[in-house]
Structures are given as C-alpha cells and as structure tokens.
C-alpha cells in the first residue's frame, strides 16, 4: 500500500481531489463548447445538398463518439474493480453510466431528428441505429443491475461484469456501416485524411473535446455523491457532516 496511486484511490482523498478538479473540467467544457459552436455555426459553410440542417452533426457525431467512448472507459473501470477489487474503480463506473446513457440518448435523438429531413423518417431499423439503441439499453441494464442488490458491492461486481460482456457491442456499432450497406452514412473522419470540410472537422473535434470535459466533470461530481453514500458510516464522512 506504499504506492501513491493507492493513496489517491482511497475514497476519502479522492473525494476531496474530485471536488477540487470537477469545476475546472466544467470550465474547459464551456470554453471548448463555445469555440466549437462558433466554428460549427458561424465559420463552417452551408452544406451543398442538406443546407443548414447538417449542422446537427456538430452535436450528433461528438455525442455518438462519447456514447461509445464512455462505455469503453466504464468497462475498463469495471475490469479494474473486478481484478484488483478496488472500490473506487467500481464507483467511477457507476458514476459514468448516466452520462454515457445521456450521450447515447442525444446521439439517437439528434440522429432521428436529422433523419427526418434527410431520410424522410424519424426512425429506421438500420444496423448502426439499432446497435446504438442496444448501447442505450446496455447502459440502462448496467444502472439497473448495479442497483438491483441490497449489498452495493455485489451490484458493483455484477454490473462490472455486464459492462465487460457488453463491450462486444462497440465494434458492432462502429463497423455496422461497413458490414451492412446501411442508410446511415459511413465514417468520413478517418486517420488517413478526412473527406469533409476542415472547419466541419474542427467543429466536431472541438465539440467532442467539450463533451469529453463535461463527462469528466459530471462523473467526478457524481462519484462524490456515490462515495458519500457508500461511506456514510465512516468517520471521515461523519466528520464532514458535522
């Protein structure tokens, strides 16, 4: 137990640490968000076929990315908590889930909202869209399972395991556009050069950064609540109360 990492992994210290860090991430989120919106709504040119509607992309794509990325991180925390039986990692996983679910929902919402003008319908049972829906249910399942036991530690373990199993879904979401000829359009952002306007790219990236920062801030704030609830019988929490 000498390693400082374990020191920070002790709930009481991490509680303070999180409380100190969270605001800064929200600030960063706001800054990136402002920049992203400026680039996306002002600098980026109007799209040839779609007109202004396409600007949904600046919410839609970053949200979609985060929905998958957060799940990945959550699963990693789950894995850590299972292997090393660390309480904090499990709490972080719990804290991430609602944010992830939120972004998944936003991706679905903006997507279907976008679908109306472009595909002429709010909803199609297209593979990517469906697998994204599955992702939403995986988040729900995670939250439900984590709270389905009287003993929170058991909830942690079970939910962590579920998160790991659910990882299968991520590649399906991501590559679905490749595997099936879907209505949904394929990846236009590729490491090897992008097919889209440079401003659009920047806008999306900035928004993604902003969402990312927001997620960290939100999960840190939430994990403090989880810690308090979990440790409510310990001395240091009692000390906080008084």
């Amino acid at each position: 137990m000498k390693i400082p990492w374990f020191y920070f992994a002790s709930p009481s210290t991490f509680y303070r640490l999180a409380g100190w860090m969270a605001p800064w991430f929200f600030v960063l989120a706001a800054l990136f968000g402002a920049a992203g919106l400026y680039v996306g709504l002002v600098l980026a040119p109007t799209d040839a076929q779609q007109g202004e509607v396409y600007r949904i992309i600046f919410i839609h794509v970053p949200a979609s990315w985060m929905s998958m990325f957060i799940y990945f991180v959550m699963a990693c925390y789950g894995g850590v908590s299972l292997t090393f039986n660390t309480r904090l990692a499990a709490m972080m996983a719990r804290a991430l889930a609602p944010t992830g679910a939120m972004f998944t929902f936003v991706a679905l919402w903006t997507g279907s909202f976008w679908g109306r003008p472009t595909w002429g319908t709010y909803w199609v049972w297209d593979a990517r869209i469906t697998s994204e829906l599955v992702l939403l249910f995986l988040y729900f399942g995670f939250i439900a399972l984590a709270n389905a036991f009287e003993d929170p530690r058991r909830g942690d373990r079970a939910a962590a395991l579920l998160a790991l199993i659910g990882l299968v879904n991520l590649p399906i979401i991501y590559f679905s556009v490749v595997w099936w000829n879907t209505l949904h359009q394929g990846a236009s952002v590729k490491l090897t050069g992008s097919t889209m306007q440079i401003q659009m790219l920047w806008g999306m990236l900035l928004m993604a950064l902003s969402f990312w920062m927001y997620s960290i801030g939100a999960s840190l704030t939430r994990v403090r609540a989880v810690i308090l609830d979990r440790e409510r019988r310990t001395h240091w929490v009692r000390a906080l109360a008084t």
């Binding site: 299972l82 593979a127 469906t130 697998s131 599955v134 249910f137 995986l138 729900f140 399942g141 439900a144 399972l145 389905a148 036991f149 058991r154 373990r157 079970a158 395991l161 579920l162 790991l164 199993i165 659910g166 299968v168 879904n169 399906i172 595997w179 099936w180």
Partner: protein, 238 residues
Amino acid sequence: MNVIAARLPAPDSGGSFSAAFSWAFARDMRLAIRHPGETMLVVAFFVLVASLFPLGVGAEPQLLQRIGPGVIWVCALLSAFLSLPAMFASDYADGSLEQMSLSPQPMPGWVAGKIAAHWSASGLPLTLLSPLLGLQYDLAGDTLLALAAALALGTPVLSLLGAACTALTLGARGGGMLLALLALPLFIPVLVFGAGAAEAQASGLSAAPHLSILGAGLIVAAMALPPAVCAAVRIALD
C-alpha cells in the same frame, strides 16, 4: 445399520472437465425432460408463438414470406429466453449451486455442461423444427436451409449470452424483467445476423457472409463467455 459400519475410500482428487461437463449435462437434461410431456413443451411453445404472428399481423402470403425468418428467429430468441431461469435460478434458490461450486469438479466444466443442456432443450429442437415452420410461412427451399443453418450457429450463442445474464441477475431484485432488460439487447446482434442470413438468401444474395459472422460470433462467445459465467456465479454465491 450395515452401511454405517463400513467406510468408503477417499475420493480421487477431483473430477476432470469432461466429467464435470457430462455430469451437469446429464443432470440438467434429466431435470428438463423429467416428465415426457415436458419435452414437448418447448417445441409446442415455439410452434405456438410462431403461429401467433400471422394472426397478429394478418395473413397475406407475400407478407408472411417476407417476415417469416424474422418471426422464427424472434421465437427462437424468446424460447431461449423463457427457459433461462431453469439454468441457474432454481439451483441458486435450493442451494444446489453452492454444492456444485464446492465440488471438486472444475467449475468451467459443469457450467459448460449446463449451457449445453440449455441449448439442447431450447435451441436444438427449434433448429430442427425450423424448416417445418418455414413451410408455414411458405419459404423457398434454399431459404429454409439458410434459416436452419443460421439457427444452428446462432442459438448456441443465445444460450451462452443468456447464461451470462441469468448468472448476473442471481439474487437480484426485479426478476424476469431485469433479466429481459439485460439479455434481450445482447440477443439483438444475433437476431440481426441470423434473420439476415435467411433474408439474403431469399433475396437472391448469398447467406454465406452472415453465416460466417455467426460462426465467428459463436467461436468468440464459446471462448469468452463461460469464464464470465463462472465469475458471475462466484459473485452470486459470495
């Protein structure tokens, strides 16, 4: 009190994977087909739900043809789902699961055995029956073939995924609904590829890509999930 006098030799240091597997498989199969009538139940149920559909949807041939594979797959999915509790929940309730996990038999062995039993009692009969049901929806011969093949590859995956989910929900509140919330989303990809195979075939394309993906999925699931199930069971008993 003859026996009480005697004492047996100590057991050899514990069973092998295959021993555990066959023990669990035999036991669960016996429990499943405890009474002749019940062997028919899964099948009956399957046929039933499959025939619910045309009724609900209203029966034009071409429409039926169109939705046939999907419906049959959904049935496979549901009957796999409905027979899930039998896999772990009852053993958990009456303490059998403790006995198994404390036995010298290796856990992966009997877990695999239970999963295999679940498949043989739910997925297998459905696969064998599917051609008949397909005829109900008058599907073409090659489509039937593709359908059966897809089921043969897909239903084991359902059993594997289902096992993981029931094991996770052991002792949880919310019972069946929670299980549904966990399992059905995981089933969806299987459904997509499974139904896709038959439909591709029906629309003149080859079912091969879907089938190969299902096969790959099966291999991955068979490798990855049993350990996960073991972990879940240990968590449940803790």
